[in-house]
């Protein structure tokens, strides 16, 4: 956790955003094409990239989900700005 990196515009957040988008868009496609082998392979590949990006973000900046809070001596869930609280 660091206060020096802006949570929303940071490189770790961009990586989570890109992989997260790929994942949710592929999931939606798979809802109507559940046996598409290429889409299933793409989903699996992007999930690995997504999970690594989330782990990086969590370690460097803070939790993306309340289940990922690393509890030491502080409840980090409420520490960073919320997603709409970016500087203009």
């Amino acid at each position: 956790m660091s206060d020096r990196i802006s949570p929303c515009g940071s490189e770790p957040m961009l990586r989570v955003s890109r992989a997260g988008f790929a994942l949710s868009d592929a999931a939606l496609y798979l809802d109507t094409h559940p046996q598409d082998a290429a889409a299933l392979a793409y989903y699996q590949k992007m999930r690995a990239i997504h999970d690594a990006a989330v782990a990086d973000y969590t370690a460097q900046i803070g939790p993306l989900s309340a289940n990922d809070v690393l509890t030491d001596n502080e409840w980090a869930w409420i520490k960073n700005p919320w997603p709409w609280q970016t500087e203009g």
């Binding site: 929303c8 939606l28 809802d31 109507t32 803070g62 709409w84 203009g88």
Partner: protein
């Protein structure tokens, strides 16, 4: 159930306040073709949908729309930061300001509060999915109309993202409708309602 992810699906960072724009963009949150109605429509229709694939589409698009109403709300919030009384008076934002200050309230561009009257949950798969196709096009038209009024690239980019998602959702609902029809009587899709008539679902 749902878990919150602490990020916007599309980042929003607006530098210049613009209350006039905020007021029209609010339509995409709580207006008749806004993201709130979209999400509630799909998440409500799921329960009587007898086909698992179509339930997946309704669940996942309904969930994504929750993320979209968060993007629209973030735009309105940032467009109304640090307003002066002069900016409020000169922009037409005064009626909204009197009712809600700069709080985010789901209403149309004309200030009419959100109503579930803007959507249906009819309990018939063909009827509901056909409504969903129309809903995605109405939302797309709303974003087209907004884009004609917006010059600020900080605001245009998230709106363009949301517009593109409506087109993808239209595509997926079309596929869901086709999949449902393939499980019905090809000579008469309307012979029975597979969500209601006993024993009709294949």
């Amino acid at each position: 159930m749902w878990n919150y992810e602490r990020r916007l699906q599309c980042p929003v960072s607006v530098k210049n306040p613009n209350p006039k724009l905020a007021q029209v963009i609010l339509a995409a949150y709580g207006g008749p073709d806004g993201e709130l109605g979209a999400s509630m429509r799909y998440l409500s229709q799921r329960f009587s949908m007898p086909y698992r694939g179509a339930i997946g589409v309704l669940t996942d698009i309904g969930t994504e729309e929750l993320g979209h109403l968060e993007i629209v709300s973030a735009l309105v919030y940032q467009l109304t930061r640090n307003l002066t009384p002069e900016q409020i008076e000169n922009s037409g934002f005064a009626p909204y300001y009197v009712d809600h200050t700069t709080g985010i309230y789901p209403c149309s561009a004309a200030g009419v509060p959100f109503s579930a009257g803007a959507f249906q949950s009819k309990g018939d798969p063909i009827t509901d999915l056909t409504e969903d196709l129309a809903a995605e096009q109405k939302a797309r038209t709303t974003y087209d109309n907004l884009l004609r009024l917006i010059d600020d690239p900080d605001v245009r980019e998230p709106i363009r993202f949301l517009r593109a998602r409506e087109i993808i959702h239209f595509q997926r609902f079309g596929e869901a409708l086709r999949n449902v029809q393939e499980q019905l009587d090809a000579k008469n899709f309307y012979a029975f309602n597979p969500a209601f008539d006993p024993g009709a679902k294949q």
